[in-house]
Amino acid sequence: MWRFIGLRSLQAIPVILAVITVTFFLVRAAPGGPFSSEKAVSPQVQAALEAQYRLDQPPLQQYVSYLTDLVQGNMGPSFYYPGRSVDELILQGLPITAELGLYALLIAVIIGSFAGVIAALKPNTMQDYVPMSLAMVGICMPSFLLGPVLVLVFGIMLDWLPVSGWGDSYGDKILPSITLGAMYAAYIARLSRSGMLEVMSQDYLRTARAKGLPESVVILKHALRGGLLPVISYLGPAFAALLSGSFVVETIFQIPGLGRFYVQAAFNRDYTMILGTTVFLSTLIVVFNLLSDIAAAWVNPRLRYQFKK
């Protein structure tokens, strides 16, 4: 197990480095410098600005100094918000996005696996069709449509819940969390249904039943562990998808989180901010993929053999 964790972690390093390198040079390759505005700036000011953001150095040197700064946790100043650094802005948005993502993931995992398991217990009955049709709706209904519809129904027509903000008024976290979680609940329902169906036909479950174990123990203790395995492997990619989903949800509900910063940075052409957030989010995603692989290998020892030879 330790060998698996060690070697799998080593794999993550080139990925993160690749992300940083590609992002850095892509952003540098962007046409139009960050200060090419309509307003003409005197050459001295231009030079001073370029020196401040180290744009006067050759690209390779910029890259090396960016890496060195990054290791020390310094992502440089924001182009758009004067006097504020990128890490400051990220740290400001992170707790909000993390909270939103956590609620959404909880909703997705709890509702999704519950629906999937329920459906798999009685396949091809109403108990299967109803949750699975709902899951299909969840998959085909993108968050940028579900969110506004929820706002329209529960926020405006029924006036039950606030429709924007985060922690400003009572209950304003409910709609964004549901909007973000719904699609992943749908995926997880489908995954756990097929996982459970596969496990239910295995010999060891027949053995468990033959031993005279009550059905609840058979399901809860023996079937769930194998049946929910695909869900555990899915959590890493789901986390990545949740982060990009938060771009939309934070925009719809005007939540000042990382996702909104990212989209705004994209519009403002705030290159250091784009670079910083991309690197940060990507690293986060790679780390979560890693954790999800480790969790899957912990539950299913066969996966550890990937590195045995």
Partner: protein, 297 residues
């Protein structure tokens, strides 16, 4: 696998066997949801294809005095704040949404099948290296990268096709590689090799046609993903740009005015959702028909 059994058996007076494809077609026909999906898709595609001739109003036609009115006899789906006919806008938007779906999927298909086939056929170290590369790329957060590309190189349609296609080929490559790897152990491939056929000819003539089932299934399931991705980007304002239009863009306009004019959100939303539904049902049906062993997740 019916086809193989029928060719192997002695060829005197046995009833004509059904081919794998005929078999699959029969199975697909029995799946009512898939057939409805297929019918609906054909309908949407024909409507979108014929839009310039059958659209009730012109694409640029405004009627500012009219403003936004709810559905009526003259405007079946109402009009937007500029008095433009929503049905017309949705039809034109559908053209772009479907085009992105099909072209980006074709890009993914082309790269994925070629890459997967080469890796699977070559085997050994080449295969290990190529698939490792896919693993690494797979771990990259591509959504973020597409946004980055759109920011850096401006928002043009061609780049959008390429960027989305470049993301979606990875799974395709894995599927094809797995298929080819198991197929190349079979005797008929050995026979082809001993006849002196070039690897390219073997891959193109013998391997890819036999690996087509899962490829078709996955292609059908990729199209809705791609369309979602396009809509997602357009919604954020990073995809299709006006005067071009797509369902994602129409939805994002609809959101702005949904309190006063909910039909501007509801109809484009319905168009996108039902099309995605149809594609997913068709994909599920094709999977059951062509690849009965595959798990449904």
């Amino acid at each position: 696998m019916t086809s193989k059994i029928s060719t192997q058996s002695l060829d005197h007076d046995i009833p004509k066997g059904t081919s794998l494809w005929e078999d699959a077609l029969v199975r697909l026909r029995k799946n009512r949801l898939s057939m409805i999906g297929l019918g609906f898709l054909l309908f949407v595609m024909i409507v979108c294809l014929l839009t310039p001739w059958i659209a009730p109003y012109g694409y640029e036609e405004q009627n500012l005095r009219l403003g936004a009115i709810p559905p009526s006899m003259e405007h079946w789906l109402g009009t937007d704040t500029f008095g433009r006919d929503m049905l017309t806008r949705i039809m034109y938007g559908g053209r772009v949404s479907l085009l992105v779906g099909f072209i980006a999927t074709s890009v993914a298909l082309l790269i994925g099948v070629t890459y997967g086939a080469i890796a699977g056929y070559a085997g050994g170290k080449t295969d290990a290296f190529m698939m490792r590369l896919v693993d690494i790329l797979y771990a990259l957060p591509f959504m973020i990268f597409i946004i980055l590309l759109m920011v850096v190189f401006g928002r043009n349609l061609l780049l959008l096709f390429l960027a989305i296609g470049a993301v979606e080929w990875l799974v395709m490559a894995r599927i094809v590689r797995g298929q080819i790897q198991s197929l190349r152990q079979q005797e008929y491939v050995e026979a082809a090799i001993s006849l002196g056929l070039s690897p390219a000819a073997i891959i193109m003539k013998h391997l890819i046609p036999n690996a087509l089932g899962p490829v078709i299934v996955y292609t059908t399931l990729t199209i809705p993903n791609v369309m979602l991705l396009e809509a997602f980007l357009s919604f954020l304002g990073l995809g299709i740009q006006p005067p071009e239009s797509s369902w994602g863009l129409l939805i994002s306009y609809g959101v702005e005015t949904m309190e006063e004019y909910p039909w501007l959100l509801v109809f484009p939303g319905l168009a996108l959702t039902t099309t995605l539904f149809a594609l997913n049902f068709l994909g599920d049906g094709l999977r059951d028909a062509l690849d009965p062993k595959a798990s449904r997740d």
